[in-house]
């Protein structure tokens, strides 16, 4: 129920298009979105494949609520093997594509192989075409989207890559509706390796639920009592920029390549400074929150900048000029690169230059050179060719490994683990590498009322936060809705037509976390890779609440061992046979 029951499979090697039944057992156990995507990936990918080869697959999944009136259910999830890290990768995006895919009659879209020439996949209900896209190759995401909108109608959902994806840049993203991105782990490079410039989808079918009056009644109540309420206030007013002041006060705002956690220019890049630019609100389908801050300054428009961009592209590069950050953000969106990784790379290059280790010709706060970076990196021009390979590559080649801020090869998001020890554990254990979407324990800890400078209870806190996100992102509900497990249970029970308890959801969450880990174990990942950059263990933060603090390595190791034990994994961070049996995997 609420699934279309169909998977669309497109092979770009052969041009074959097939429609097959959705694996109902997997949908039952992994729901949709992240869980279902990673399950398909795990089952269909061979061990050790090159992520940029024809053997990798780009898997797009919707969820059990996509296309219904359930609030905040409009997102789409991608899964593939990551070209940035070699781990499993999931990455999600807002906009209307997911609902259009469901209306076209598909829960899942699997793209295999590699086209010979640039291609555009066009889906209109049962009609699926692979069209030539040579004329779009080389164009930025904005122009590509405008042109496809003109040709195929602006109501369609469009996903596309920019020059960065085409050039297989390991931080390339996929963009949609100009200003939204599935950004992390190089998902855009996977699409580029398939020579797939864009996917356009429109649908006219229905999504059915077993009890429509019941669902409408439930959703009406939730919107008033659980969505447009105090618990979500921050998101439907300011959106994520509100986190700048919080992070700065907690001393965890990455500043000058994580050399500090307090930025003297924070008040110039916070929510108030964005409010002064008079943003307009944008929302995904079925969303009452409308988190998007649409801002246009001259030729540059963005939705945001979001907190992660303000932190990594702003304070982490020593930049407090909000208009420069917006311009940098817009350039990243157009060439198609991830702002989190881009901000880290530029910050790292700045520190390398200032320390005299390698002169990249850019220093903290040098806005003129900084603004050239997105295009140089995305198009692999000049020094951008090397920078586009990411922080790990640069550190291995030139040094600075102790302040290369990445985990498993993925550059860190905007919360310094020295001021939030649980977030350190969340980064270290995240299956796709340094990532804040695997779990967000800082919300209860440094941003809540739990002591950030102890390891006591942190393994459990982190696991609970990871499981909460696994449920949310596999039901495909937006991160920004502070929805309870009980409400998620109520919603999925209503849509499935049978009671699904919180306990059942929690078990599914654990299963979903473990399938991601199994993928990585099969690829040869071991416990030693569940770690953090040396700077976190050795360099004390300078300012604010965490001044003088590191996350001591022995404490981190103890926290990690407790984490493995609680997860029922062995000392190498691999799930034990007993655990897998318990989870019916």
């Amino acid at each position: 129920m609420s699934y279309t029951g169909k998977v669309l499979r497109v092979n770009l090697d052969t041009g074959d298009v097939t429609k097959e039944p959705l694996n109902q057992d997997w949908a039952e156990k992994y729901f949709g979105g992240r869980g279902l995507g990673i399950k398909y990936l795990y089952e269909e990918l061979k061990e050790g494949i090159d992520p940029l080869s024809s053997a990798n697959k780009l898997i797009l999944t919707t969820g059990p609520f996509t296309g219904t009136v359930v609030p905040c259910s409009g997102r789409l999830t991608f899964a593939a093997k990551s070209p940035a890290t070699g781990t499993m990768l999931d990455s999600s995006i807002g906009g209307r594509f997911a609902t259009q895919l469901k209306f076209a009659g598909y829960d899942v879209l699997i793209i295999e192989g590699q086209a010979e020439n640039p291609a555009c996949l066009v889906i209109n209900d049962d009609r699926v075409e692979i069209r030539d896209a040579t004329y779009l190759w080389g164009k930025g995401i904005f122009e590509t989207e405008s042109q496809l909108g003109e040709e195929l109608g602006r109501e369609s959902g469009v996903l596309s890559i920019g020059p960065a994806g085409e050039k297989l840049v390991s931080i390339a993203c996929i963009g949609s509706e100009y200003y939204r991105q599935a950004a992390r782990g190089g998902i855009g490079a996977v699409m580029g390796s398939k020579k797939l410039k864009a996917i356009v989808c429109s649908g006219s079918k229905d999504v059915t639920v077993p009890d429509m009056p019941g669902l409408l009644k439930l959703v009406k109540r939730l919107i008033w009592e659980d969505v447009l309420t105090d618990t979500n206030l921050g998101i439907y007013t300011d959106g994520t920029p509100q986190i700048v002041d919080m992070s700065n006060s907690a001393g965890v705002l990455p500043t000058r390549n994580f050399q500090d956690g307090v930025f003297e220019g924070a008040s110039k890049i916070n929510a108030e400074s964005i409010r002064r630019l008079k943003p307009r609100k944008k929302a995904c389908p079925a969303c009452a929150l409308g988190c998007g801050n649409y801002i246009r300054i001259g030729d540059n428009a963005v939705e945001g900048p979001e907190y992660e961009t303000l932190a990594l592209v702003g304070s982490n590069c020593g930049v407090d000029d909000i208009e420069a950050i917006i311009k940098f953000n817009a350039e990243c969106d157009d060439v198609g690169i991830d702002t989190i990784s881009a901000g880290n790379i530029v910050g790292f290059a700045m520190e390398m230059t200032e320390r005299g280790i390698k002169d990249f010709g850019i220093r903290f706060g040098d806005i003129e050179t900084y603004l050239k970076m997105p295009r140089l990196i995305g198009c692999q021009e000049g020094m951008g060719e090397e920078l586009s390979r990411g922080v790990r590559y640069l550190a291995q080649k030139y040094g600075g490994i102790e302040f290369a801020m990445e985990t498993k090869g993925l550059e860190l998001p905007g919360y310094d683990p020295r001021g939030s020890w649980s977030m350190g554990l969340a980064y270290a254990t995240a299956n796709r590498g340094g990532c804040h979407m695997g779990g967000f324990p800082i919300g209860d800890e440094a941003f809540g009322d739990i002591d950030p400078f102890t390891i006591e209870g942190k393994a459990k806190l982190t696991i609970d936060a990871q499981h909460y996100n696994m449920i949310k992102f596999s039901l495909v509900l937006c991160d920004f809705w502070a929805v309870s497990l009980e409400t998620m249970s109520e919603l999925i029970s209503c849509v499935r037509g049978r009671e699904i308890s919180v306990a059942e959801l929690e078990k599914a969450a654990e299963r979903i976390w473990n399938i991601g880990r199994l993928f990585n174990v099969r690829e040869g990942f071991k416990a030693g890779e569940d770690t953090l950059p040396d700077r976190i263990f050795k360099d004390p933060l300078k300012s604010g609440a965490p001044a003088g603090r590191v996350l001591p390595r022995d404490q981190f190791d103890a926290m990690l061992q407790e984490y493995y034990q609680l997860r029922g994994w062995d000392n190498n961070g691999a799930p034990t046979p007993e655990k897998l049996k318990e989870l019916e995997m």
Binding site: T231, G234, T237, A271, G448, G544
Partner: protein, 82 residues
């Protein structure tokens, strides 16, 4: 004693009235020499469940932290992700 209180994010509009400028905040006078963060919540009728955390003079504080004359209190809402 007088403390200056800045409500961040949507808390500003919600508790200080539409259009309130959280940049300047509001000055609140207490008869005591010091009060706890929890007492400030009580005085302003801020439901604890909507508060993420509190900073005093820019540094994260707990609910039982004491606030004294001329302190600046920043109150942040809950967040679910960045």
């Amino acid at each position: 004693m007088v403390v200056r209180i800045r409500m961040h994010g949507a808390l500003a509009r919600h508790f200080a009235g539409e259009g309130a400028d959280s940049g300047n905040g509001m000055a609140i006078t207490f008869p005591q020499k010091k009060v706890s963060v929890a007492q400030i919540f009580n005085r302003l009728r801020i439901p604890v469940e909507v508060v993420g955390f509190v900073a005093i003079n820019g540094v994260r504080a707990a609910k039982d932290t004491w606030v004294t004359d001329e302190d600046e209190i920043a109150i942040f809402p809950l967040v679910t992700g960045g």
